[in-house]
Symmetry: D3
Subunit: 167 residues, 6 copies
């Protein structure tokens, strides 16, 4: 039988709320998320045909957009705490007809950096979509998902099994 | 044979660039995007058990996050133009073990509002993830994808076939 | 009998929503709002004792905060449209034991600039509070209220009677 | 005779300035502020007639706007320090013909969170105004005021007497 | 004898103010600005030694920072109007021991885009500084200056003489 | 022979990156930067003719723009960490035909506040340009440069020689 789950962002009375972390001590937190963009064969060819520099520039633009977005997570996600990020690292690569984005965030904080990693990955993926949509409006983003987190009371969590591909 | 695709955000020399729209006239633009969040059975139960009001508040929080994010698309996506949005509408519903978000954006503009709809859908999905992650870190977002766009030189585009589900 | 009132930001089904203005034509819009801050006798004396320049700097800081906030109204107020402001003008003066802020906004837009004027006035008032709170935490802001608006389908509206004082 | 008051945000030479907190140690800080919106009888009826869900959505929108604004206090109020908020909590209720907003902020910081609580309350009030203004442009906001603060060198301060109503 | 100059951002009474553009019609506006960064011989060598890709990434990061900053000019420069930018283009190249940034902005607006071009150039230069400062804290930025503007009542203005170097 | 310089923002593979500071302990950091604006004789006369108050307001506007921009350094400069600023202080004065801006930033942080000081100085300078450009589009900004920094592993650094003038 599945365990009962509690939603920490829902108050007993039902209202969405921030989680009060004033009684928690800061600990080292890390999180890794990934996002995939299935650009399809034609766009992948266009990216490769454009050659090293321009492909680099497309992917570099997405990478920087992800880094910048991570720093604004608290502005975008209503119930997130602002966090003093120690590092955000976004890797992005074209693999076959898909682009894979891996975002890592770390901080010394009272709450986890999962949302920073997820936001970096998602906004990098949106930026890839923006740059290729003239050649393929049907391009799909997904999955966007957490791969691993460490730190905090709940400790380490890692996705099982399929870390090297969405399916 | 697949048609050759051109990436409008890549200059001939390879640099990522904005598309200069100074010679274009504003026309009515609309775009619809969707994002799915597979929250799984346990979280879906938690959302339903919480009852009408609190589920409403969780989804309403995500909906507002999407609307607010759409207005900041030009800040998040490096090569997007700022657009004078006429409307942003985000619908969100729990369907089985998945949450479906549909975002519609419209403006009178020189360029399309696809990115505003995509950004609204993606940030609403990130917000759902934030609110349920205490109960399910493995929850996955995706697909995030365009359903339809109208207006502009390229006219109407609509996704084929599978509009009512990700698979 | 009081006329039935409709809340334009509430959809028939009950959801908060933006008002779709895509079918509206832009017209000249103006709005004026005021905010009062009752700083009390001691703070008013401190402001006056500081002399012309420093009082000017305190009030000038609040004035600029109001102008800047007006430009971010669409980021702060979830269901507000971003508007292409033509002008924001904030006046601020110490009158007795109270500071009065008057904010005027104008644009050529599809919807009114009331919220821009109200936001400018309110944030200028918060800034006054910030600067005097070391000398008087009990200082109160209010009323913040619209004085007049022109333009749009509903035309001119002006507050009756008490334009020169809150009470 | 009233004690002489000093404005900490005014330098000896008269310039507005931030307060240098580099020599202070972080301590636990809390602040509570309230804002009232006198929506009047007709709007109160419209909110009640709309029923539970839609009233909830109107007030929930305001509540989230307040939470988000608190996180941006340092961007809005020129001389405020950015603070690592531990919690922001906004409650909002319709009481007779008035809406009452109570905002609580807490952090471990070198300076107080009064402005975060005040900003949350004020922006939530502006959002209520935005959502009801189609039915009542004359609606007034106020008072917006601090109810209590704890922590820091000056310790606890609490408003006297009238905590349950503006007048 | 030098002509008397008027500061449009200073009201007759002395207050800094926005320029009210509500009576102006939008016209096509363009502006070009440049910024120089004297990185010195050692940093220039480090950039060149790092080779094509990494130098490209350093300069591409600065280029994107400039584009993004241009879109936020109205948030940064208190008396600037928000403008519906049609294009922002930033070029950046290493020339000897200096980096030259050229930023071009265009819009259909009631006021000029000089500040958008200047802001893009300046923030790109700050970003270059950030990326090379570990190797040379003494690196200097300047000049940052307008090269040309067209459109509006005052028509075309172009810097005389020295367009290809700071001195 | 000049020492080999390393660019900390460039990864071994060439990608621009943030510097991971998760293993560093926070220490007291200070940085001072300056920016010069050569407004020319005619604008300097206009500023002086306008008299004390209006000149004060022009310079005060620039000063506040600098303070506000420092707080947003992490949003503007892609690879900067968000920092918990303890103080930002901007001084600005008209000296002959030039305006000199000196910005000081301090924090208890894992990385330096040089970019906060540089950003404050540069945005204050852009704001001066904005306010005088109606009288002198040719006005030049520069140099913008670091004067001193203290704290961190590399300790104190100070510019040699020419601290009281750009040349």
């Amino acid at each position: 039988m599945a365990a009962r789950k509690r939603l920490s962002h829902v108050a007993p009375g039902g209202a969405a709320r921030m989680v009060d972390v004033s009684e928690k001590a800061p600990t080292a937190r890390r999180a890794t998320a990934e996002a995939w963009v299935n650009v399809g064969a034609a766009v992948a060819r266009a990216l490769r045909r454009a050659g090293g520099v321009s492909k680099g520039n497309v992917l570099e633009t997405a990478r920087l957009a992800g880094i910048l977005a991570a720093k604004r997570t608290g502005e975008l996600i209503p119930l997130c705490h602002p966090l003093p990020l120690d590092d955000i690292d976004v890797e992005i690569a074209l693999a076959g007809v898909r682009v894979r984005i891996v975002a890592r965030a770390s901080c010394q904080g009272k709450t986890g950096v999962e949302m920073e990693a997820m936001t970096a990955a998602a906004v990098a993926a949106l930026t890839v979509y923006d740059m290729v949509k003239s050649a393929g409006k049907g391009v799909e983003i997904g999955p966007v998902r957490l791969l691993e987190k460490t730190g905090g009371k709940s400790g380490r969590w890692a996705r099982e099994g399929d870390a090297d591909g969405p399916r």
